[in-house]
Amino acid sequence: MALDFQASVMWESVPLLLGGVHLTIIITLGGLAIGFVLGTATGLAKTARGRLPRAVADIYVEAIRGTPLIVQVMFLYFGVPLATGMRIPPVTAGIIAIAVNSGAYIAEIVRGAIESIDVGQSEAGRSIGLTRMQTMLYVVWPQAFRRMIPPLGNQFIISLKDTSLLVVIGVGELTRQGQEIIAVNFRAFEVWLTVAVMYLVMTLSIARVLRVYERRLNARFGR
């Protein structure tokens, strides 16, 4: 059976899909912003001297990396309210899920970048009297952060694509919008193609923006 491809269906689905794009972006940005803070804190805890922060960080990271995101999402949305008696709105649940999930991966990125900086750098910092915190802030972090940008870009792209899993809790993001249009017009080929192109435009934009940012940082650091 030949496919009767109708380009007009693609154009017609764009306005509705853009609503989904909007929500996908909000959830991605919100989730990643919180995930970055969470991941940085966890990554720093992993390099801490104390045993307790390291243990807490390890448990968090292992638990998240060892379970599927879709299970985490459903646990958060359907499971947790049964324990707390408090329902979480789907979009909020989506942002929390992306935050907690990306935070675990970002923690590993942060830890790896910090540990890749030569110990001589912190020794030099400590030798001029900087505290451990100041040494991290002014000496180690700026150098480590530069090394984080490529893997962070990767994680941003993964998290953006992960938002499509939120379809299981009924968040009206891009994938969900696509499903709903198809439920009405049955044009699976055209609509999923349009959805795919929209994801691609977003992921390519992230990669692009980060490359430019990295180049600007490097230029400022004189290399």
Partner: protein
């Protein structure tokens, strides 16, 4: 050897082990204000470890290290403060690559001493002038030669106005033709009366600048004395052997 009522550095029965490896086996050393002490010894004898204990870059196993009256390993001591009194110059320079030369020098004054930036910049430029690099203030470390990097590192240490400067093989990572410019700066500091402890293989420099030379081997000070005696009439057989090897290297 200088004698003094209030030593700048006092190390008493310092022991340091890494795991099962006993690296320092009882070091006793007193350094007077203005004294220049050069430490020599074979690789792995514990020279760097001993030096690093003088600003607590290492934790010690037992003993006492007192710098300008502050007991470094007393928990009540503000270690961040004491570290500003003993500057460290590293073999690998360890300049901050993401900062320009002037910012490398002013980071300590601005963040630790809370010196206003304008004043810190003035101080930093004066120090760069002193090490002959005023024209490099805006350059980044990657754009400098090894000798220039090490001179910036010295200026960075001086910016904290330390009472003691510690040098760990400051010229070992340099091309031979760049060694002189760094030794030149160190010689000038010695003449100004800076208290310095220097680990180096530059025997000519030791002979010329040191007030006292110390030979460390197997975690102990095996011999020490003023450079003339030390080099012309070494008593310890291992020192004799070591000097013979270094001379013929």
């Amino acid at each position: 050897m200088k004698t003094c009522e209030t030593p700048m550095i006092e190390i008493r029965n310092l022991h340091k082990t890494f795991g099962k490896n006993e690296v320092l086996r009882g070091i006793d050393l007193t350094v007077c204000p203005g004294e220049v002490v050069v430490i020599i010894g074979p690789s792995g004898s514990g020279k760097s470890t001993a030096l690093r204990c003088i600003n607590r870059l290492e934790e010690i196993t037992s003993g006492k290290v007192i710098v300008d009256g502050h007991d470094l390993y007393d928990p009540a001591t503000d270690i961040n403060y004491v570290r500003t009194e003993a500057g460290m110059v590293f073999q690998q320079f360890n300049l901050f690559p993401h900062m320009c030369v002037l910012d490398n020098v002013t980071l300590g004054p601005i963040r630790v001493r809370r010196t206003p930036r304008a004043e810190a910049d003035r101080l930093g430029l004066a120090l760069l002038e002193k090490v002959g690099l005023a024209d490099k203030a805006a350059a980044y470390p990657d754009q400098l030669s090894g000798g220039q990097k090490q001179r910036v590192a010295i200026a960075r240490s001086l910016a904290m106005q330390p009472k003691v400067l510690l040098f760990d093989e400051p010229t070992s990572a340099l091309d031979p033709e760049l060694v002189g410019e760094v030794l030149e700066v160190m010689r000038a500091l010695a003449l100004e009366g800076m208290t310095m402890v220097i680990v180096t293989h530059e025997m000519g420099f030791a002979r010329e600048v040191a007030d006292r030379v110390i030979f460390i081997d197997q975690g102990r000070i095996q011999e020490q004395g003023p450079p003339d005696e030390f080099f012309s009439a070494p008593k310890n057989p291992r020192l004799r052997e070591f000097l013979g090897r270094v001379r013929h290297a």
